[in-house]
Amino acid sequence: MTPHRHYRVDADGVGIAVNEWGNENDPVLALVHGGADFSRTFDVFAPLLAAAGWRVVAWDHRGHGDSDHAHLYSFEADLRDAVRVLDTVAPQRPIAVVGHSKGGAIMTSLAEAQPFRFRSFVNLDGIPYRRPGPDLPEYQRADAMNTEITAWLEHRRRTATGSRKPGTIEELARRRAQMNPRLSKEWLEYLVTVGAREDADGWRWKLDPSMRMGGFGPWRPEFGLFRLAGLGVPFLGVLVGADEPMGWGTKPHQVEKWMPRHGRLEFFEDIGHFIHIEQPEMVAEMALDFLGDPS
């Protein structure tokens, strides 16, 4: 369903596109997308939450969807942008939060930095445990990292003049299927119509072409895990069993001991990383049940 409201928030000069579903006077539920995604991927899931009495607020991270392409990108910058949006819709007020993948990780960080903003938190397969990719012995790990760094630098040399490759809706959907192998052709083709723009020579994903999967840095995925144990808000973590390129592959036994007190962990063996798109009704029902009465 097309969002009920669409507007932009200025985040220190970076324009952030916000989409909302539901009654404007209902309590706020922030719905946060993951890396390489955008808020319109919630076009089916968000209305299910809104129908239960929530004002669902989702925004495109900088460089994603309809938000500005920024000079620079970082996890901390995403956190700041999120706070700019929350300050607009619910300044200093506790809200319900549902975050998927990197969106779950960003909001886990925010829950440590600014716990007063949270009333409850559902994290959909956004609990990182290890680096994505195969487990390698030390000498191969170093080689792989060196190769990744070189590839990243070569990518940076090209992005000064680069733009995304144009194509038909079917072609863009096929490319995205590499990231979303479990999602239907019809859904991916729909995503092109809301996540890409049509130029004279074809459709192009709006995602900033300087963004790239993978990456390297001193940050360890486990850092996010350490924050979990200290969370003081009602917490529902959802993990999935079907391996996918975009998933972290985190399994319950790896994170159980880091769960916050009285936190709940659910595991779905046969569902993939995009659980809210594969089974929107089931996930909405579970989240709504956990979040309780909006008022």
Binding site: D12, S74, E76, A113, N146, I149, W152, R156, G217, P218
Partner: protein, 215 residues
Amino acid sequence: MNTITLRHNRIELALHELRPAIGDGRPLLLLHGLGEKTPTTVPIDAESWSGAIWGLDFTGHGESTLPVGGGYSAEVLLGDVDAAINHLGTVTLIGRGLGGYIALLAAGARADAVHGAIITDGPGLTGGTYESSVPQVVRLMNQGETPDPYALHELSRDVRAADYALDFVQFSTANSELSEPINVSATYRPAWLEAVAAAPGVASLPISDALDLYR
């Protein structure tokens, strides 16, 4: 001073020639510290260098682009240095503080194009802690001029992990033609730099001797 503008993604970088070559040898590239910019004259330590002497203004510093809305990382500054290397060819690097850390990253990432990296004292040498600390959500206002307050805030706290720094030492020593491609001249050594200085393939000579070594 001859200044060239390089492009790194959406950033325009200022690369300054402080002095043309006075003899043979490759260029020396100066990397300034956090909140600094390329000096206008050749530092005394570098006067004896016979090749050309250049200095790069990092993103958000000096005459380079002031980005909107922050989002800095040491890895982005590594990309800045890579743009300079792409223009100058093989260089010797000497970095102050943060610039010293970036010199190390560049020596590892582009071992074939960095003929020695010298890490010296300067602003931003320490970096943040290894264990990720409480995330900071602050709003900073720039005055329309460099240095960018977001650069100062974010790059003074980026995680500097010893094991990560040692990866770059390993890449450098494995792929450089030099037996000691990294030199630590800094007096102050935070944990990551202590680990680097103790690693095989890393010298700890004074600046002038290190410049002689890489000449």
